[in-house]
Structures are given as C-alpha cells and as structure tokens.
Amino acid sequence: MNAPETVKLYLARRARWRVSEIAFWLAAAATLAFLPGKHLILAEIAILGLFALSLDLILGYAGILSLGHAAFFGVGAYAAGLFAKHGLITEPLAALVAAAALAAVLGFVTSFLVLRGSDLTRLMVTLGVALMLRELANRYDNITGGADGLQGITIAPVLGRYPFDIAGHTGYAYSLAVLFVLFLLARRIVYSPFGLSLRAVKGNPLRAAAVGISVNARLVGIYTVAAAYAGAAGALLAQVTQFCSLDVFSFERSADLLMVLILGGAGYLYGGLIGAVVFKLMQDWLAAATPQYWQFWIGLMLVAIVLLGRERVPYWVQRARLRLRMA
C-alpha cells in the first residue's frame, strides 16, 4: 500500500466505530427494557459515567489533574434545581443545557488558574475553587437551602411528555440519552485535529508550541467543555433525584471521581463509563456483603491498578489490533 492511502486509512480508522463499542451501547440500551428493577441505580451509573467522561477530557486527554471537578458538577446541580424550583426554565432538557452553559462559564473563567504550574498547583487550585463554591452555597442558604439542601423541587415532564416516575424509568432513559449524545460529541472531539493537539499538549507542551499550537488556548477550550459536561451531569442528578444538597460540591465527590476514572482507565473514552459501572456495582455489592468496610476493597483495587498500570492495557490492546489490521 502506498503512503497516502495508508495515511488516509489509518487516520480515518482511528475514528471508526468498533464492534465492541456498538455492543457496549446496545447492551446499555437493552437495560432499558430488560432491567426495569434496576433503573434507579443505572441512572446513578449513567450520571457518574458522564461526570467521569468530563474528567477524562481534561485529565486523560489534556493532562490536567483535578481534585475539585465537583465545582462544576455542583454549579450544574444547583442551577438545574433553582431553575425548576422557581419555574425559571421548567422543561428539564432546556434547563440542563442552561445549567451546563453556566458551568462552562465558570470553567472558562477558572481555566486561567490551571494553565500554569505543576500537578500539585493544579490539584490545590481545583480543590480550592470547589471548597470556595461549597462555602458560598452554604453561606447563601436563603437561595440554596444551606445544609438542608434545596427542598421542594418538582421537575416537569421531559420535553413536556415524559413525567419522572418513582421507579426511575424516565430518569434512567433521560440520563442515558443525555450521556449518549454527549459521548458522541466527546468522541467527535477527541478524534478531531483539536483532540490530537490536546494529546500533543499533554505529551510535550514545549514541542506542541514549537509546531505552532497555542497551548493555552487549547487548554482553556477543553477545560470549558469539560466543565459543561460536569455541569450537565450535576443537572441530571438534581433533576432525576429532585433534590440538591451541599455534597454536590464535596471533596469526596471529586476524589471518588478520580478513583472511578483510574479504575476504568484514563485517556480512552470508555474508561469513565466502565469505571462508573465497576465502582457503583462494587459499592452496591460490597456494601451489602461488608457494610462497614466496603471501601477497603475499593482501596485495594485502586492500589493494585495504579501499581500494575492497568490504564495502559486498553492502549496496548488498541495498538495490537491496529497492527493486525494494517498487516
């Protein structure tokens, strides 16, 4: 095969849908029909998966380490909650878009704080931003309900047609649909030249600038997008549970998120989704088996994964497959 053809084929094939991917989403869709009793936890998984996908965009693709990603999740959650409570935007999907946009604005503004500095600086800056937002929400309890949380939210039917129900059927279908659409968009982004340039910035910022990439502009861009994703996840949670409390901003939420992503593997789109499934199922199962000590096993897995380098495995598999295909 001559070089131009190989170039075209290979670049295009990177973005081609794989059988395993189609199977993943078919399986997800099948749960809508076949696991009606599990829709409450499945909705939680979908929301956590979206949140983890958001972190993957900045950590896995752009190399920005964050311990305060809940800041954007929380802003999305409170925005959606307040929109519904005060009847500002009643249709849930429109409210979700507006909440994500607000989170994006916050992401854009705070992105300038994470442009420079080491991983430690970024960890502390992101952590600090989330802490400040939490305390702001605590202080202005006349708006947020403070420690009691935002009470009395009623969410209107999705698109005016599908009311939320107690068994969580609508909530899950709605969450999964939002996750799928935003996943498609993220997939598009990471396989684009912009996505490729993010990996370059992560891999070698000095060289990235030397081939003409505006490193800072790219980081600002992806941080803003990721904030919107986190905001959408937060909005989903507030809408599906019809409740919102200060813990949407909590440090534990940000830290758990990092665990979820590392469990599933950072830097490939499905890492956050698989991590969310594993984390929630383990939480569910282990909490039933050993109610007080379930986090011991999560901790053990985390240590093992980080030491064994599990996050590289998907990369190897992908590489090996490509080589077979091109041979």
Partner: protein, 253 residues
C-alpha cells in the same frame, strides 16, 4: 532594493543575572541561506535559538522575519509566520505515531488545528502532505510505530520532519545530527541537503566536517557575542576563531 533578509536581528541581548548570554547580536540570514552557527560550549548558541523562537524574551534588540518585526510575538505565532525549529535533545510526542505527530503539525499549519468537529484524516490535501513528508524523511514504513520505540536515528529524522511539517520559511536546526551514530548520519544529512532553497537554514553544529561540507556561510559565537561571520574558508583561517576554539594552545595572532 532587494528583499529583506530571511531573518535579521539587531542588538539582540539577554542576560541571566549579571551574565550576558547574548550581547548585542546582529545576525543576518539571507534568503535561501545555508548558514552554520558555531562556537564553543557556553557561547550562547542555544540562548540565541530560544530568543529567535520566542521561548525567551530579549532584554534589548529586535528580530525581523522577512522584514516583519516578530520580537514580541508568542512562539506559536512565529511558527505560523514561518519560523520553525528542531531541538538538540529530542522533543517528540512519545506516545504518538510519526503519522499522528506529522499529521498534527500539518493540520495546525494549514489552519485546521482547532477544528474540533471533523475527523482527522478526512481532508485529502492534508493527507497528501503528511504522506509526502513521511516519505521524504524515510518514516513511511515506521509511521504506525509508537514514536518512543523508534531508533534514535529515526527519531532525529522525525525531529526535522515535524519542523518541516510547519512549512517553514526559516528553519533553525539545533545540532541535527547530535548523538546519531556515524552510519546513520548520512541519512540525516541527505534529508537536510534535499530541503528546497526557499527554506533558509541556520544550523548549530559541533561536528566541523558537517559544518564545512554543508554551510555556505558561518557565524561564530563566543561569550554571547558574534565574533566573526563569513565564508567557510575565511572562517577557517581567521586567527580569532582559532584562538577561541583552541584557547591557550592557539598561536597568538
């Protein structure tokens, strides 16, 4: 009046504390030049490259690229205007394939780098350009390998290929053959020699055989200043240059 030189600096200075790493440098690179920048270790050659590319800001002086003042432009803006460089120590994207890396640089240069919607590889013109560069630098058969696993000689070629992918008007090569074993050097030399004349080249090199076989002009830098500039045979004879290189052992003159 003839066209402005490809690259020209006037009074370019930069100090670190009290030490001048560059002191009033007036360097001129004509269009189509094949010019070497030589000098003993610590002469300030890499500082000069960093000033030219915008990694460092000068404390005084100006830099002009084809007549245009670029002194205060950000590094990536200079690249966009046609000033590309390679690094003395490889600065590559270890986890990417040569194909992805070259593709990235080409997309960037053709103005599609921030395109977040279209799948990379779906523009014919970009694909052809990528393939052309990979072939010219003997990287076509290794284009799907992980960069970090390529041989050192191949990685040096990729260094240059990445700079060429930016379609430079002026190319700064920082010791292109540094560390490359004797047997693989000719491949790098051949690749550099084959570059078209509309690319003006300034290269730093320690290997004098290489300098004298390739350079048509030589600039000598010592202690942060330009000591001499001229044709290779004049430079070879210049007693000041001999003194600077050989130190105390040189005959006074």
């Amino acid at each position: 009046m003839s066209a402005a030189p490809a690259l020209e600096t006037t009074g370019l200075s930069r100090h670190f504390g009290g030490v001048y790493a560059a002191n009033g440098i007036g360097l001129r690179l004509e269009r189509g030049a094949r010019q070497a920048l030589i000098g003993p270790n610590g002469a300030g050659k890499t500082t000069l490259i960093n000033l030219l590319t915008g990694v460092l800001r000068p404390h005084a002086g100006t830099i002009r690229l084809e007549g245009r003042d670029i002194t205060s432009l950000a590094p990536q803006r200079r690249v966009a205007l046609g000033l590309a460089r390679t690094f003395q120590i490889n600065q590559l994207f270890g986890d990417m394939t040569p194909l992805e890396a070259v593709g990235l640089a080409v997309s960037e240069h053709l103005g599609h780098g921030a395109d977040w919607w279209r799948v990379a590889g779906s523009r014919q013109a970009i694909d052809l350009r990528i393939a052309d560069i990979l072939e010219r630098f003997h990287l076509a058969d290794a284009m799907l390998e992980r960069t970090a696993s390529l041989s050192y000689g191949r990685q040096r070629l990729l260094e240059i290929a990445l700079a060429i992918a930016c379609s430079p008007r002026v190319l700064l090569l920082d010791e292109p053959a540094a560390g490359v074993p004797e047997g693989e050097r000719h491949e790098i030399l051949a690749a550099v020699s084959a570059l078209p004349r509309d690319v003006s080249i300034l290269f730093i090199e320690h290997d004098m055989d290489l300098v004298f076989s390739f350079a048509e002009r030589i600039s000598v830098m010592v202690g942060g200043s330009l000591l001499a500039e001229g044709a290779p045979r004049d430079i070879a004879r210049d007693p000041r240059v001999q003194a600077a290189y050989l130190g105390e052992e040189a005959p006074a003159g």
